[in-house]
Symmetry: C2
Subunit: 579 residues, 2 copies
């Protein structure tokens, strides 16, 4: 027996089809359930396939479908979340402030490209020393592979990654190995294929337009239930799949003029769930706003999101290391900006941005702890949104890769790595999709056009629809133990081990960054209490002033010399001095 | 081999006596270690007894002594905190918002009155359903028994409770049983006996006076090291003894005009330790200020303390239940105040207080979550500071006790119980001390005088120095399974079980409290989403209006009647309606 429920406020008649049989649904009686329909069906239970028909129309998947075994256009399947046998007993995630995050994409992380495949690689992550995994979106999207940001069934794990139980087994296995797991969720748009939400109700509004079309309805008519849809989804992943937190994709694309912003509502509801379940949860936002309101606590008038991604730091670091000045990198490129990013996270704090042709960001009224920001030198976007998906390892030499790793892992922020970065993986992370022929052709064409604007020849841009583009992006695990790959892995392990045992690196504060740039020199020194991080990005044999009387020196190069008040480093080398 | 260190900025000569042999100490060389003395002694290690002599004076215990096996006036003993074999691996405390706290006093909780004795009673606490223990102060105080608030060796566990390892074993055992452990620490004063801090340095200042004499030096000359002394103590309990948080005694007695208040410094340092160790910690303040600044987050200009005790709620509840109007209860006594306390935690929010003869408190600018307050109907102070240490069970009948429990455990705040409350323990909790004869006589005399002012005859006030006063205060564990005691225990278990499975009770919010008081009626209804708590404090058979269409009714009495829009309850009964 199962009670089916669906919100379809515009329909005059709704029925649920269960295993081929139609059952009429009734309007819910409760005053606060306006627009909801319900039907209790005797012959339905976990495993039953079903769908809804509105006004005698086609059978559509449930907007809240817990599983889509036949893909986005197929029937939904009932799941009883209470049946899974969890073994993570009294599991609690450690504080986010102590985290080292590892972003991974289920489809390309393991050879199998599945939840079960990822389980086989956990020991690598444990020995690397990371504490939190962040899974790129795993909810159902069109096709058998893709990045996941074009998902449509928000409550269903992607069928090609495995079953709901497979995902639970992965989270459970992570917890057993003392790894917390965060999930990337996309609430700012839905994918272009398999999205039937509009048939059911006003989940979208034409009041605003986004890069992806109509905006998600957060403040227009019917927004109460649309907001519940997204908020309930967040709570579901935390409660039923035991995720330890969520990464909220592109929150700058939320259009919400409600008195209580959707992010604040979400933070408040997640806090309530935390109290109810007695488990620690975190919310992390991808925000392009440089607006401290997102991460300020709710009693300071903020939205109460625990932390945000720090793209400014990425851009400052990337442009300094690569010399790139295209696209948004035109706003970056100086060592001073890198110093500012390390000091303040935001480089643009109300300053004029050439790229945006407007002022951008805001200076926080009070100092914000580094614990509120994630630092990374690479992520799925910064790698994958390049025409050919090059990692930093494809763009700069080993010395500069090691500098990038050292800056991220000694920064006052929460470090995050992107899968494979730790062993300089040779595989790119390219943009891949598996849409139907017509939509796929549009996407391939769009991708070529996008990069033609940057002077790319069409034949040099990998076709997203080509399955080879997907396969090429899979990690090659044989590399882990090989030559330069193994050497990089050892460097990452050493930095992670250092960070974990050094309170000065995790306290969220930074004392000072000195950046020196001239025709003759280019170096940067970051001071964090008993630790100095010294980077030489210029010519060798520069005398870089240091203050620390170091008991321990960790250096990416071999030929360094430390005097009482200065240090000599080879070019493209970094040294960490620990008092 | 051990390096001894001590701060003695006024001394001209310092030596350390180790196992009877004196070793001269040298001034520390580092600029930032002004006033510190050090000596490395070959024949010293864990277990060595030692003390410091200043300017050839008597050998004194170490201000930071890790153990005082011979009491407050004896030698100190070296402890190596790294030697203990912890078994709590990846332990993390659950969120405070989900906590049910149990305050206990090591000396009277178990028959043995020791850390080891308390370990024998953990299963009772697990079956009761509490999640956090809060130990009354366990640091070394004068004598073999006492409440602990007159401690003097802040870094040493009380010798009569057990060794440092015994305390660690207790915390470890709690963690194994999924119980978090908080420790009560007293930084606003030191006890009157065995306090040698003044000999060493300016730990106190005469710039301010407190009920206990000179104030702790938080902003006067030398305050940098005095603040470090207290802050380091806090960090030590969290790091070396694996406590999950601290309860800060009487923070309203801190005198600190520094730009960074000591509480803010403490919150900031504990956050840094949390990031370093990767463990969740909490700070809870006992504050009589009704000042939201204490519990506001640091980015909102607050001190960033996680939660505070809510004495206003206690006083409002106690005075309504008992009718008492003496002392500070004169400011309370109405059902409306109880409603206000449940709604806002602070009853006095800038209002005039008769008892204080001034305005008291401040209205928070934004709503503060209930998760920032602890609720209790009893605690060591409210019971023990009465002339004869009566519990609520000695003052009101079973019906009103059950109302008190229900209000606390369905409140929007974090519930806290005081040891034995859950089974209506017959033992009082009286004021007991074990000082030397002279000081003891003063204390006995002082206690008699204090209560003479309230009309108590000297012979009716238990003598704090009488060992019988201590023994009388021990819990009688035979009661747990007996008659009315067992009945009360069942009531508490039922309420705790209800709270844990009901999200509406733990979300920190309260919708509405209606209090109705007239000659004919006295009732209160608290509404929390899908839950209504209905208390009848007046005559039976009143029609109390309710809104909830209850699926479940939990009632302290048997003869209740629920109609569509009202409820009839016997006198002194409470019902919880769950939708």
């Amino acid at each position: 027996m199962h009670k089916f429920e669906v919100w379809a406020p515009r329909a005059q008649k709704v029925s649920v089809q269960v295993e081929g049989v139609f059952h009429p649904m009734q309007r819910a009686a409760e005053k606060n359930r306006l627009g909801w329909w319900e039907a209790t069906v005797e012959d339905a239970g976990p495993g039953s396939d079903y769908g809804f028909s509105l006004d005698d129309g086609d059978v559509l998947p449930d907007p809240r479908s817990p599983a889509q075994p036949y893909g986005v256009n197929g029937l939904s399947r009932l799941v009883n979340h209470d049946e899974f046998k969890w073994t993570d007993g009294h599991w609690q995630a450690r504080p986010l402030s102590s985290a080292i995050i590892y972003e991974l994409h289920i489809g390309t992380f393991s050879p199998e490209g599945t939840f079960a495949g990822a389980m086989q690689k956990l020991d690598h992550l444990v020995s690397l020393g990371v504490t939190h995994l962040e899974l790129m979106p795993v909810n159902e999207f069109a096709g058998d592979w893709g990045w996941g940001y074009d998902g449509v069934d928000l409550f269903a794990p992607q069928h090609s990654y495995g079953t709901p139980d497979d995902l639970k087994r992965l989270v459970d296995a992570c917890h057993k190995k003392n790894l917390a797991v965060l999930l990337d969720v996309v609430y700012n748009h839905l994918g272009p294929a398999g999205n039937y939400l509009n048939d059911f109700g006003p989940y979208f509004t034409d009041a605003y337009h986004t890069p992806w079309g109509s905006a998600v309805n957060l403040d227009d008519k019917g927004s109460y239930e649309a907001r519940r849809f997204f908020a309930d989804n967040a709570l579901m992943w935390l409660r039923d799949y035991h995720f330890d937190g969520l990464r909220l994709d592109a929150v700058h694309a939320f259009e919400d003029h409600s008195a209580e912003h959707f992010l604040e509502q979400l933070a408040s509801e997640v806090e309530a769930l935390e109290a109810q379940l007695g488990r620690h949860f975190v919310l992390i936002a991808e925000s392009d706003l440089n607006d401290p309101r997102v991460i300020k606590s709710r009693d300071a008038g903020g939205f109460g999101i625990d932390a945000q991604w720090s793209d400014d730091l990425h851009h400052a670091l990337h442009s300094v290391l690569t010399g790139e000045q295209e696209g948004y990198y035109e706003d970056f490129g100086t060592l001073e900006q890198l110093a500012t990013a390390l000091q303040d996270a935001y480089v643009y704090k109300g300053d004029y941005s050439e790229h945006r042709q407007r002022r951008h960001g805001r200076r926080p009224a009070v100092e914000i702890s580094g614990h509120r920001f994630l630092a990374y030198s690479q992520n799925h976007d910064q790698v994958g949104n390049r025409a050919t998906g090059e990692r930093l390892a494809h763009l700069v030499d080993t010395g500069r890769q090691k500098i990038a790793a050292a800056i991220v892992l000694t920064s006052p922020f929460i470090p995050m790595l992107f899968q494979g970065e730790e062993f300089s993986a040779s595989s790119p992370f390219q943009y891949f999709t598996n849409h139907n022929k017509e939509l796929g052709a549009n996407i391939s064409e769009g991708r070529r056009k996008e990069f033609a604007a940057f002077g790319w020849k069409p034949e040099d841009v990998p076709d997203p629809q080509d399955s080879e583009t997907f396969c090429r992006s899979k990690l090659n695990w044989n590399e882990v133990s090989q030559g330069a790959h193994a050497e990089m892995l050892a460097w990452y392990k050493r930095l992670i081990e250092l960070r974990k045992r050094t309170g000065a690196l995790t306290d969220g504060h930074l004392d000072e960054v000195e950046a020196n740039y001239s025709d003759e020199s280019s170096w940067l020194v970051m001071k964090r209490r008993r630790v100095e991080v010294v980077c030489n990005l210029g010519e060798p044999c520069q005398e870089i002033p240091v203050q620390t009387s170091a008991r321990e020196v960790i250096c990416s190069a071999e030929n360094w010399k430390l005097d009482k008040e200065s240090m000599q480093l080879p070019a493209d080398a970094v040294a960490i001095l620990v008092e």
